[in-house]
């Protein structure tokens, strides 16, 4: 952290950096000054707020689990197998990171909705449809969160020494045993970082959720949706408390992970 004396020093650079930092700090300050500290506990204990918090927690953990179940194998395929179209597949798999979430919601609706490509036949056969249900929220959150897991785990797999796996294979371990006893333990830091990052993205998901799953307290109204509704319903203090809570959680995740999600951990 100590600046070497030979480092070229530019006051202009520092001023711009300061402005850059302020750009991030001021919105947080704007929320903090509106924070109703005295009634915070009361607001958090409100049954409606509790319902949203519980739903957010359950849905984000479930989507993290789903993202691990599907995302780790996908990351493995991207890191270890060579096949035509691999770059395209990787692009598609991490596309939701840069896609507007509402586009994801529309796409999910047209694929898994009650008249969608896949959802249509399923709804006709079983009567079940994902929109307006908590599983719908989990699907929407997984769609936007899983890319973070895939990209982190793939980086972990690429940087690991494959000779460990080769040695285990030579010693007679089955492919499954190698994966379980060698590969996964070695990439554990990447896996944990990816899962935590995916979880925090799922927790903050708004656009795909409200578009695909709808908005109903207790079923599909997660904390970000509740914030939006509270703001429009003249309940600014509730919106501020929930916003600050989201910030605290996200900031804790970012600080705890440091740079690990960039693949240098």
């Amino acid at each position: 952290m100590v600046r070497p004396p030979t480092q070229p020093f530019s006051p202009v650079l520092l001023v711009l950096a300061g402005l850059g930092a302020l750009f991030f700090v001021l919105p947080l300050a704007g929320l903090a000054v509106q924070m109703p500290w005295r009634s915070t506990l009361q607001i958090l204990a409100d049954p409606g707020v509790r319902t949203a918090l519980e739903l957010s927690l359950v849905a984000s953990l479930a989507s993290t689990a789903l993202a691990c179940l599907l995302g780790v194998p996908l990351a493995w395929v991207l890191a270890r197998l060579r096949f035509p179209g691999r770059e395209l597949l990787r692009g598609v798999a991490i596309l939701p990171m840069v896609l507007p979430p509402v586009v994801g919601g529309v796409a999910l609706l047209l694929a898994f909705g009650r008249r969608g490509l896949v959802g249509g036949p399923v709804a006709t056969a079983t009567g079940f449809g994902l929109p307006f249900t908590t599983p719908g929220v989990i699907v929407a959150e997984t769609f936007v969160a899983m890319p973070f897991l895939v990209i982190t785990v793939e980086a972990g797999l690429r940087s690991m020494d494959v000779r460990f796996e080769e040695a285990a294979r030579t010693l007679g371990a089955s492919r499954w045993t190698v994966l379980r006893r060698v590969t996964l333990p070695v990439i554990r830091p990447s896996l944990v970082a990816g899962a935590v990052l995916a979880w925090s993205r799922a927790l903050g998901e708004f656009g795909a959720t409200i578009t695909f799953a709808g908005n109903f307290p207790g079923t599909t109204q997660t904390v970000p949706l509740a914030i939006y509704i509270d703001l429009d319903s003249g309940r600014l203090p509730v919106a501020v408390v929930l916003s600050l809570l989201m910030i605290v959680v996200s900031l804790a995740v970012m600080v705890a992970l440091r740079g690990r999600y960039l693949g240098d951990g």
């Binding site: 307006f132 709808g214 109903f216 509704i229 429009d232």
Partner: protein
């Protein structure tokens, strides 16, 4: 809190003045009846007004070549929040009196709100009414997925009134932020029924059909319109409000299913 709000209002007004000053095209503060509207006019309007107001805006632009009318259509409470946070807009049209009252009590209005149209609720169903919904009483059937507006949105509070009058409890599958989202969910077949306005069904096209709600259970939604205090373009604001209230504006509203006031 009160002080902070007035500071915010001040900031919003300052922004409005700044825009008016920078725009150069905005007219002077004291309009005469003969003043030609020019520059940009920003209208915040309830989502149910989308089709009717777009037509009125196009007519106004055709008559005034120097005028550009911009609309922001959303649920009325979303627009109220934007006004309270200092959005530089000229005109606000709400789908109910409650949301307009928030604007008036905050002192954001420049004129007294005027009612320009009425609307009624209707049950929107998918084309061909596959679930055979005949009345609001069918909405209590557990196999029917009903979508409605959130309670703070006018169409949501009106829906609650209708259900109360009918003496029924309806559990919706979702609460949307504006009436057009309800319509979309019905059109896509995600919801079997949606509580929307008569005007929405009329402008929705062939993917949606309407099931009438009888007068005894229905509500009369009154739409007020107002010029905002921080209006960057007050001349155009007044001309637009007149255009909504005059005979061609009223015809446009009637064409899209509203009940005109004159």
């Amino acid at each position: 809190m009160r002080e902070r709000r007035s500071t915010m209002l001040g900031a919003g007004m300052a922004m409005g003045l700044l825009l008016a000053a920078c725009g150069g095209t905005a007219s002077q503060a004291t309009p005469s009846p003969s003043a030609r509207p020019s520059g940009t006019l920003t209208v915040l309007a309830a989502a149910s007004l989308t089709e009717a107001f777009t037509q009125i805006g196009n007519q106004l632009q055709a008559r005034n070549p120097g005028l550009k009318v911009r609309f922001s259509f959303a649920g009325s409470p979303t627009l109220v929040t934007q006004i309270q946070q200092g959005a530089p807009a000229d005109v606000f049209a709400s789908a109910d009196q409650a949301n307009m009252e928030k604007v008036v009590s905050g002192g954001f209005n420049a004129t007294t709100p005027r009612i320009f149209a009425h609307n009624r609720l209707e049950i929107a169903v998918h084309a061909g009414n596959p679930k055979h919904i005949r009345s609001v009483y069918d909405l209590t059937n557990p196999g029917i997925r009903v979508d409605e507006c959130a309670p703070a949105v006018p169409c949501g509070s009106y829906a609650t009134t209708v259900f109360k009058k009918a003496g029924i409890t309806v559990t919706p599958v979702s609460q949307e932020q504006d009436v057009k989202s309800v319509l979309t969910k019905v059109a896509l077949g995600e919801a079997d029924a949606g509580i929307v306005y008569v005007s929405d069904v009329k402008s929705a096209g062939s993917s949606v059909a309407g099931v009438e709600i009888p007068d005894s259970l229905n509500v009369v939604a009154s739409y007020p319109i107002v010029e905002l205090k921080s209006a960057p373009n007050p001349v155009a604001a007044r001309v637009f409000i007149e255009a909504v209230l005059n005979s061609s504006g009223q015809q446009a509203l009637e064409r899209y299913g509203f009940t005109p006031v004159r």
